[in-house]
């Protein structure tokens, strides 16, 4: 990505939440051959932006996200978050929200949210206060004592988001967080996520299969192709915020979704 001429470069202090992916590649070595999962992927995300990664299955979008989280190492290129390379998980810089079933079933909702803090030895009272704030932010005030099996799918993902936000990292990475939810809950959770995002000003990178979800949520949509995974398009979504349900049937929305669909159909 070439920086635009009229944008003044950000000072290092203001780069909290910026993500830079430079010439990143990932090759899986198997016994018979080398599989190129990602090839020469470069992108730049400015602080506070909501960026969605879409693409057909096997395009490496989740792999890319896991590399941004420091959970997997790329075989080529560099990934920088808040101005420093990411070589291993760093909860100070990055919170991760996974697909369903990532909550610990033996812990209550608030203990799940406190988990990242407990790992760092934050005192109990401070932990509890922060977890309460995070639960309130995601709209689960009063549900802290419940165990995951006592919560609905949407509520569980709210707890996951609270867990991702509890340490207040500038970046939130989300790996198909709503994939297992029914359509109705999914729409509600999308609106909820946008509300939380607006309230916290986080940089969000969101992976999804759903084109509607991608356009509805994003400032920018990055479209990837499969085998090898490459960026084939980078769209700016100029729809006004807050996004509303009515926009889904508008022309602007439709043409963006069609453009993404054409890319995906071509590569699938």
């Amino acid at each position: 990505m070439q920086p635009l001429a009229n944008v003044t470069p950000l000072k290092p202090a203001a780069r909290a939440g910026a993500i830079e992916v430079k010439n990143v590649g990932q090759v899986f070595k198997t016994r018979s051959q080398d599989v190129v999962a990602l090839e020469d992927v470069s992108l730049e995300v400015k602080p506070g932006r909501f960026v969605v990664l879409v693409g057909p299955s096997g395009c490496g979008k989740s792999t890319l996200l896991m590399m941004m989280a420091g959970l997997r190492q790329q075989t080529a290129g560099t990934i920088t978050i808040s101005g420093a390379p990411i070589l291993q998980p760093d909860p100070d810089r990055v919170g991760v929200v996974f697909q369903e079933a990532s909550l610990f079933p033996w812990l209550t909702a608030e203990d799940n949210v406190e988990f990242p803090l407990a790992l760092r030895g934050v005192p109990k009272a401070e932990r509890r206060a922060k977890a309460q704030d995070a639960l309130k932010l995601v709209g689960l005030d009063g549900f802290g004592r419940r165990h995951p099996h006592e919560l609905s799918g949407g509520m569980k993902q709210r707890v996951s988001i609270a867990r991702g936000l509890v340490q207040d990292p500038p970046v939130l990475l989300m790996d198909e967080p709503f994939a297992a939810l029914d359509e109705q809950t999914r729409m509600t959770m999308g609106d909820e996520l946008l509300r939380i995002w607006a309230a916290t000003g986080k940089t969000v990178v969101f992976v999804t299969h759903s084109l509607t979800e991608a356009v509805y949520l994003a400032d920018e949509v990055i479209v990837m192709s499969a085998r090898p995974g490459r960026i084939v398009d980078h769209l700016q979504v100029q729809l006004p915020r807050p996004r509303t349900y009515e926009m889904l049937s508008g022309d602007a929305f439709g043409s963006l979704r069609d453009r993404i669909w054409r890319h995906i159909r071509k590569s699938a």
């Binding site: 989280a69 420091g70 959970l71 998980p89 760093d90 909860p91 990055v94 991760v96 996974f98 697909q99 079933a101 990532s102 610990f104 079933p105 033996w106 812990l107 988990f115 990242p116 407990a118 790992l119 760092r120 165990h147 995951p148 099996h149």
Partner: protein, 251 residues
Amino acid sequence: MQGTLAINLARIAIIVAILALWEVLSRTGIVNPRLLPSASDTFATLGDLLRRAAVQKDLMVTATEVLTAFALAVPFGALIGFLVAENRYFADVAKPLLFFAFSIPKSIFLPMFILVFGVGFAQKVGFGFFSTIFIVIMSTTTAVESVKVEHLTVARSYGATPWQTAFRVYLPSMLPVLLEALRISMIFNLTGVILAEMYASRDGIGHQIATWGENFQMKQLLAGVVMVAAIAMTFNELVRWVETRCSHWRT
């Protein structure tokens, strides 16, 4: 709750019915009372036996053997089970072999244990250990496999150290399966030790039960059976109680 109450009443009714049938069969002479002493006589004998110093000593001997064998077999088996489950190569090599070993009735090795250890404490503990270790290994393997990859990834993404991962993810994930394993291991362990005592021994409650049987002391024999059964059930229920408390989330 009414359902649970009704079910409990039904259970108690069955136990009472069995005891009543036992009493009636013996008292009326439908079954020869010399072969089947009545329930009331048996329980009276049980009370007498429990007051006898010799029986108390036998119970202590057996308890020591059982607990020693258990204390050796559980950590040792758990360690092997953990290594087998965590190491792909080790698992591929060892798993079928463990299944082979598990399928063999352990009692056929009892004469060898006597030849190696003689008749005494070591023979009982050794055989108890041998009867228990395979089930411990296999249960631990299952327990490790019950740990979800997603949960490990979550821990890693929040910077958990290996110790934190062990105590905050592995242990709670495995606990329900491990407690169940503990319970079942004890059944195997108790069976092993008592069998060893009945086969060749100078003391222990298994030895007493065998002796009463050989001497046709039916009251003592039945009282001994009731005694061991009650002890085994108590331990089992105790662990099961802990189990349900620790695994309420597994629904």
